[in-house]
């Protein structure tokens, strides 16, 4: 053993860089990759084993809502298939033969088998079923008016296929399923109608092209006729869900939108959580298209009920309601005013303080910030609703998204507020929020905060002349909470508008200080 002189520690990251040079082959990284593949595989097998066990019980309902089959004829076996998938694929040939046969009971048996295969194990088998070309045959079977059970099973099988990838859905639509499924909405059997709606809902969920396809074939009209006093709750649920999927894209005509809104307005009074939730999703989709549609939503007088639902106990309802309202709040001032008039501002603070999910809170904040971007009166409404302290608190302690949104709200309120409002905002502590806002990197938000600060500084300038102390106390406040440093840093920000605004603020309110702080100063030239 010889004692080497002790060496100072390795200082440079040279080794790491050298390793990265020309990405040389490395045994260890290869092994880690293999290990990770095995770990991934392990994870998914573990989940498979668990989920098999979890379903391994006849009394456990399957996770997909199976249509209720109370109408005759009733199916022989409503529980999920117990047979293994291997057996299924071996049986596939026999099933196809049954499907193609003229014997109705063979057809039914084969269709049931197909449907079970499809609901048993996801996509790999769907591929196989599609590959062997049974889709066209299933579509034909939808026409077996004399045998509603067969129609049901065929529609069910198609539903399962449309639950797969876009390619799967395309196979179904290309086989001409849409007009036939629409036709089935006239079936006297409610379970058949329900299954057809489900399939159409899946198809509509796929793409705008698919939605248009369904609407072009009269799907929307037929669907709206499902909402009548004789309909079962399960049918209404399904119809609402399908309708919400159709509303995801812009509807082709105003009259259609109007008709849909009429139904939605009625549905908003439902006590069924699922129906309510899907209704609200539909409304939120409609509100996301254009201000024209928002105007129609407002005119259909569903907003009051919508605002009431903000206080619903289930997040499944509150989430879409909040989204719809947030969408409306992004429209023009008069539309926003409608929301204020019906008491939105009494509900929003509750959403912000209670332990709601982040998404809901974020949308609520966004709504507030949209309102703050409105008129002076609208800003006053926010102040009157005592929301400012709340927003300031969220801007300091909320999750990042919430911080950002509440900062937006404060920035909007200060930028657009009257001098009196700004006095009150500063009193509530908006300066630290605006200064902290300067560390965000979203240039729009940055600019908004700069605008807010400018507005506040102007008021500070006016106050200065009033009390004659010769100090812009707001400039001092900004400096104290680190805002000046942040402004100085912003001079290097790569955005002209922000750069210019920053320079303007610095030059107008700080630069000349120090040397001639006693001298009275004119506010910046473009002040009016």
């Amino acid at each position: 053993m010889s004692a080497p002189p002790l060496h100072p520690p390795q200082r440079t990251p040279e080794n790491a860089r050298r390793k990265a040079y020309k990405g040389q082959a490395d045994v260890n990284s290869g092994r880690r990759r293999r290990e990770n593949q095995l770990i991934q595989l392990r994870k998914s097998r573990r989940e498979d084993t668990l989920s098999k066990r979890r379903r391994d019980d006849a009394s456990t309902p399957s996770t997909e809502p199976e249509p209720e089959l109370s109408d005759p004829p009733s199916p022989s076996d409503p529980s999920p298939p117990a047979c293994t998938t291997d057996a299924d694929s071996n049986n596939l040939l026999g099933i196809i033969n049954g499907l193609e046969s003229e014997n109705i009971s063979l057809q039914l048996e084969a269709t049931v088998s197909i449907r079970k295969i499809l609901s048993a194990d996801g996509n790999s088998l769907a591929e196989e079923v599609i590959r062997v070309g049974v889709v066209a045959r299933l579509v034909e079977l939808l026409f077996s008016n004399k045998n509603p059970q067969l129609q049901l099973e065929a529609a069910w099988a198609l539903t399962n296929i449309t639950a797969g990838t876009s390619e799967h859905t395309e196979v179904v639509t290309n086989a001409g399923a849409v007009p036939k499924l629409v036709k089935l909405l006239e079936s006297p059997h409610s379970n058949v109608r329900e299954q057809a709606m489900w399939a159409l809902g899946n198809i509509a969920a796929d793409s705008q092209r698919c939605r248009e396809l369904v609407i072009d074939h009269g799907g929307l009209v037929q669907l709206l006729s499902q909402f009548n006093e004789h309909a079962k709750v399960s049918n209404i649920r399904m119809a609402t869900w399908t309708l919400s999927n159709l509303c995801f894209g812009k509807l082709p005509s105003k009259s259609q939108t109007k008709a849909v809104l009429q139904i939605l307005q009625q549905l908003l009074n439902s006590i069924d959580e699922k129906i309510l939730s899907d209704t609200c999703w539909a409304i939120s989709y409609l509100c996301s298209h254009s201000t024209d549609e928002i105007q129609m939503v407002i005119e259909s007088r569903i907003c009051p009920q919508l605002v009431k639902l903000l206080m619903h106990s289930s997040p499944k309802v509150v989430t879409p309601v909040m989204l719809a309202i947030a969408n409306v709040s992004s429209a023009d001032d008069s539309q926003v005013q409608c929301l204020i008039d019906i008491g939105l501002l009494q509900c929003l603070p509750k959403l912000l303080v209670r332990n709601y999910q982040k998404y809901i809170k974020k949308q609520a904040c966004m709504t507030v910030s949209n309102i703050c971007a409105g008129t002076v009166a609208q800003i006053q409404a926010i102040i009157d609703a005592k929301m400012v302290p709340l927003l300031i608190q969220l801007s300091q302690h909320g999750e990042t998204d919430i911080k950002k949104e509440s900062t937006w709200a404060i920035a909007n309120a200060t930028s657009g507020g009257s001098p009196e409002q700004n006095l009150s905002l500063v009193g509530d502590g908006c300066i630290p929020t605006l200064c902290n806002g300067l560390k965000f990197c979203d240039p729009d938000l940055l600019y908004a905060c700069l605008n807010g600060l400018e507005s506040v500084l102007k008021v500070g300038e006016m106050e200065k002349t009033k009390d004659g102390a010769g100090m812009n106390t707001y400039a001092v406040l900004i400096e104290e909470c680190g805002g000046l440093d942040k402004l100085e840093n912003l001079q290097d920000f790569d955005n002209d508008a922000i750069y210019e605004k920053t320079i303007k603020l610095l030059e107008s309110y700080w630069l000349e200080e120090g040397g001639e702080s006693e001298a009275p100063k004119e506010p910046s030239p473009d002040d009016s």
């Binding site: 053993m1 004692a3 002189p5 002790l6 520690p9 200082r11 440079t12 990251p13 040279e14 860089r17 050298r18 990265a20 040079y21 020309k22 990405g23 040389q24 082959a25 490395d26 045994v27 290869g30 092994r31 293999r34 290990e35 593949q37 095995l38 770990i39 595989l41 392990r42 097998r45 573990r46 084993t49 668990l50 989920s51 066990r53 979890r54 379903r55 391994d56 019980d57 456990t60 309902p61 996770t63 997909e64 289930s314 997040p315 499944k316 989430t319 999910q357 998404y359 999750e399 990042t400 998204d401 560390k439 965000f440 990197c441 979203d442 840093n489 001079q491 290097d492 920000f493 790569d494």
Partner: protein, 871 residues
């Protein structure tokens, strides 16, 4: 009562083996008999200027090793041991150490510096030795420069050893003042200045407050920048190292200095000696690292924004930075690609250029293209290589849309250069560039690949041909093939590689057999490429992959049979075994996943298993890991048939679980236990006593690396799922273990992301255990055995949910456990679940998750709970 140890210390360094062993033995004995006296002797040996430097140096080394070790648990033991020594001894040792700093012998001083730092590392966090910093700082005003130098060095090491929060701001200020004064240009001794500059490097982490203060920061920056202009190259290098460290620690404070730093660095890159120039380039690479991180943060919507804003320094410097980097590319060394440890300006410059491209994206392309066009066909190989390297460097970052038209034009040129350029260096870089093209402009990530059915054949011909070239070029060709194949991994049944599988395998196997395959990592690259091609095989090519199996097995067999190897040969053998096992793993996995080939594959299973068992005879950790992974894959493919291998395999499984030292093996083995559970189901029962005993032992050990513990909990779940109610006898051991871990992890306060991630992994493991146990007992008459544990499980979930720091995976697992409780225990726990504070909210929250699978399980859990409540 210092003992005389000089002679032992000298003998311990003797060339004569017997003398050396005897001395080492004696030293060990003294240490064991009387540790305080031994440490005392060592410190006075080190302090004694009349002793030979050899014995003093070794005394310091042994002293240092008595205070610190690499493994965490040993490090803690040593710290405890030191703290428990009596005060008088410790004081005496510390006095000797501080005394040594004034020794005229520089080696002794430097050794003492490091030992002092180790003692400080133990004592300062316990608020002991409060006078240390003060007494060191009083040395600074000494006239003798060597004392000053040693003191600054010591301060530097202390800053490296001690966490910043341990030193109060007042002391930090004084340390920094002393250090920065020592760096000042007015300091006449370059030894002092160098020591101060190096000390600053370590002290930067302490300077958080000082860097927020404009005046102090300005001062520090000025002194550092001045030091980069010193006449002493070592000082210049150390000063640039400080700049590099500042660039990552204080990125957001740099704006006002960037212009100056650019001037300093670009002068250094162009004119200074290599070690300095390398650091100057590193400064820019480091800025790129920062900006890439920040911009990544911006892009990931959910993690929110980075706390630090991006100042776009690189974008602003681009027009001047890129030409400077391009110049460096022309400073290649003749044989740099064969020299595995080499690092020079050209390599650093190209690396930086690559980072710049990743930082600014498309903007870099027009700045680099003229350089490429001008130089790529020049007669001087340096120019051709530099142009190619520049091209390869900018392929990551800019958008495929921007690059594709250029690459489409360049591809043929590159292929021709790889086939025919007379210079190896150019060919090496060309092959690497092709690999980068395939990596970034081909495969699922890009809309339209630059590879077409038509040019694929030509590409393959050139790549395969180049695999016969010199090792470094062949290695790059293998790497390029790797990325080419990777692009087809997700493709369905039509892959343009299909017709060439046979040729590809043949050539890659040829490469692995090359005499010079151990140079430039060639063999590894060939096997990695082979694995990747196997991964992208399909129904059609599976039979060709199948033919590989006997070939690989034969090779593995030969390595197992090889006898009497030199240690060098043994090492190569180990590497090869590891690669072959890895290759088998990939083949097993792939063949097992293709329905049609699984059956055909299984005929080899016996032989493969036989071979893998023999591989365990090797004592090499890597080989064990690889063999274990292959066995995990085999278990999946074999299913219940794996049972017949268990009697022979079990001993190695146990060995793996006991391997605390090489914890990676332990972790992999724990995973394999899970694989076996799923493959064997209840046939694993006979082995469970042994496995469970070992796993429980592992959990209670504080020597085992913590990362292995979460998978052990998950493994409990796997075992319970496999053996069902037979898990009963382990409940009394496993449940308390789970409970106390749950308790800990539910209340864990995570200071940093790493800790948070670990806590969530642990929680997930615990929840997976609960799910497995609950579902394992489902429908058994013994379910009531689990009822007493239910309140605790619910409380665990309540606490976590209340704490709001669960990640999605934990949320999902917790949801599952809620359902499992209801599903297995039914009405026994229905009211309990209903009344739990979190269950309803948690399920509701999951109902609106984006992931449909989560929504589905939420639906399921809700049903199960409703039934449990009503039933």
């Amino acid at each position: 009562m210092a003992l005389e140890v000089t002679q032992f210390l000298l003998n311990a360094q003797s060339v004569d083996g017997a003398t050396r062993n005897h001395a080492e033995e004696s030293l060990k004995q003294i240490q064991e008999q009387n540790l305080p006296a031994f440490l005392l002797s060592l410190s006075s040996e080190l302090a004694n200027n009349n002793k030979p430097i050899e014995s003093r140096r070794l005394a310091g080394l042994i002293l240092k090793n008595a205070l610190d070790a690499k493994e965490l648990h040993r490090k803690n033991d040593l710290a405890q041991r030191w703290l428990s020594l009596d005060l008088a001894t410790k004081t005496q040792i510390k006095t000797s150490l501080l005394q040594t700093l004034s020794s005229p012998v520089s080696d002794a001083r430097s050794t003492a510096s490091q030992v002092i730092a180790k003692v400080a590392g133990i004592e300062l966090p316990h608020k002991q030795w409060p006078e240390l910093i003060g007494s060191l700082l009083s040395n600074i005003h000494q006239v003798e420069t060597h004392v000053k130098q040693a003191t600054l060095e010591t301060l530097g090491y202390i800053c490296e050893e001690v966490p910043p929060q341990v030193v109060d701001q007042d002391q930090v200020n004084r340390i920094l003042t002393a250090v920065v004064q020592g760096m000042n240009a007015t300091e006449t001794s370059s030894d002092v200045r160098l020591a101060a500059t190096r000390a600053l490097y370590n002290a930067l982490g302490f300077a958080q407050a000082n860097f927020t203060n404009d005046m102090e920061r300005d001062y520090i920056m000025r002194v550092v920048c001045e030091a980069t202009q010193s006449s002493d190259v070592k000082i210049r290098q150390a000063a640039f190292e400080c700049l590099v460290a500042i660039s990552s620690t204080y990125y957001e404070k740099l704006a006002q200095y960037m212009q100056d730093i650019f001037n300093i660095t670009s002068k250094a890159v162009r004119e200074d000696e290599e070690p300095v120039a390398l650091q100057a380039i590193e400064f820019w690479s480091s800025i790129c690292d920062e900006e890439i991180d920040i911009l990544d943060d911006y892009r990931s919507e959910y993690t929110g924004d980075s706390d630090v804003p991006c100042f776009y320094f690189i974008k602003q410097a681009l027009p001047a930075l890129v030409p400077m980097l391009l110049e460096t590319l022309l400073k290649q060394e003749e044989d740099q690609d064969q020299d595995e440890g080499g690092w020079n300006i050209a390599m650093a410059g190209g690396t930086c250029l690559g980072l710049v491209a990743r930082t600014v994206g498309d903007d870099i392309v027009p700045l680099v293209m003229p350089f490429i066009e001008e130089n790529i066909s020049k007669p001087d190989w340096r120019r051709r290589e530099a142009a190619t390297y520049a091209f390869g460097s900018i392929l990551e970052g800019p958008s495929p849309g921007k690059l594709a038209p250029i690459v489409n034009v360049a591809l043929n040129f590159m292929l021709a250069a790889l086939a025919r350029d007379p210079n190896n260096h150019v060919k090496d870089t060309t092959a690497w560039t092709l690999g980068r093209i395939f990596e970034f402009l081909h495969g699922a990530v890009v809309e339209t690949s630059v590879i077409t059915q038509e040019n694929c054949q030509q590409i393959l011909t050139v790549l395969l041909q180049s695999m016969k070239d010199v090792p470094n070029v062949a290695e790059k060709a293998c790497g390029a093939l790797y990325f080419l194949a990777q692009g087809y991994e997700d493709e369905g049944s039509v892959s343009p590689l299909t017709p060439f599988f046979q040729d590809i395998f043949q050539m890659l196997l040829y490469v692995t057999h090359r005499e010079d395959a151990t140079e430039s990592n060639l063999r590894t690259a060939a096997y990695e490429a082979l694995n990747e091609v196997v991964r992208c095989s399909n129904d059609e090519t599976a039979p060709i992959v199948m033919q590989l199996i006997p070939v690989i097995m034969l090779e593995l067999h030969q390595t197992v049979e090889a006898q009497k190897l030199t240690s060098d040969e043994r090492e190569k053998q180990n590497d090869l075994q590891g690669l072959l096992c890895g290759c088998l793993q990939v083949i097993i996995q792939k063949m097992g996943s293709i329905e049609g080939s699984k059956y055909a594959f299984m005929q080899y299973a016996d032989q493969i298993m036989d071979l893998l068992l023999k591989v365990f005879a090797s004592r090499n950790a890597t080989v064990h890991e690889e063999a274990m992974l292959a066995i995990g894959a085999l278990a999946y493919t074999a299913g219940p048939n794996f049972a017949k291998y268990m009697p022979q395999f079990y001993q190695y499984l146990e060995m793996g679980l006991q391997n605390f030292e090489e914890y990676q093996i332990c972790a992999i083995t724990v995973g394999v236990v899970g694989d076996l559970c799923r493959a064997l189901e209840d046939k694993i029962l006979p082995y469970c006593d042994g496995i469970m005993t070992q796993l429980l032992k592992n959990l209670s050990s504080n020597q085992l690396h913590r990362s292995v513990k979460p998978p052990i909990f998950s493994c409990f779940g796997d075992i319970a799922l496999a053996i069902g109610e037979n898990f009963e006898k382990y409940l009394v051991y496993a449940m308390p273990m789970l409970q106390s871990a749950a308790e800990l992890s539910a209340h864990a306060v995570s200071q940093d992301d790493e800790m948070l991630e670990y806590t969530n992994q642990l929680r997930n493991g615990i929840l997976e255990a609960y799910s497995g146990i609950l579902q394992g007992f489902k429908s058994s008459p013994k379910t009531q055995l689990l009822v007493p544990y239910a309140p605790h499980v619910l409380q665990f979930i309540d606490t976590m949910y209340g704490g709001r720091e669960m990640d999605d995976a934990v949320m999902k697992s917790a949801l599952g456990v809620l359902g499992d409780l209801a599903d297995t225990l039914g009405s026994h726990v229905g009211p309990l679940i209903r009344d739990s504070s979190s269950s309803k909210d948690l399920i509701e929250e999951c109902m609106v998750y984006d992931d449909p699978l989560v929504r589905e399980s939420a639906e399921w859990a809700k049903h199960a709970i409703n039934r449990a409540v009503s039933g």
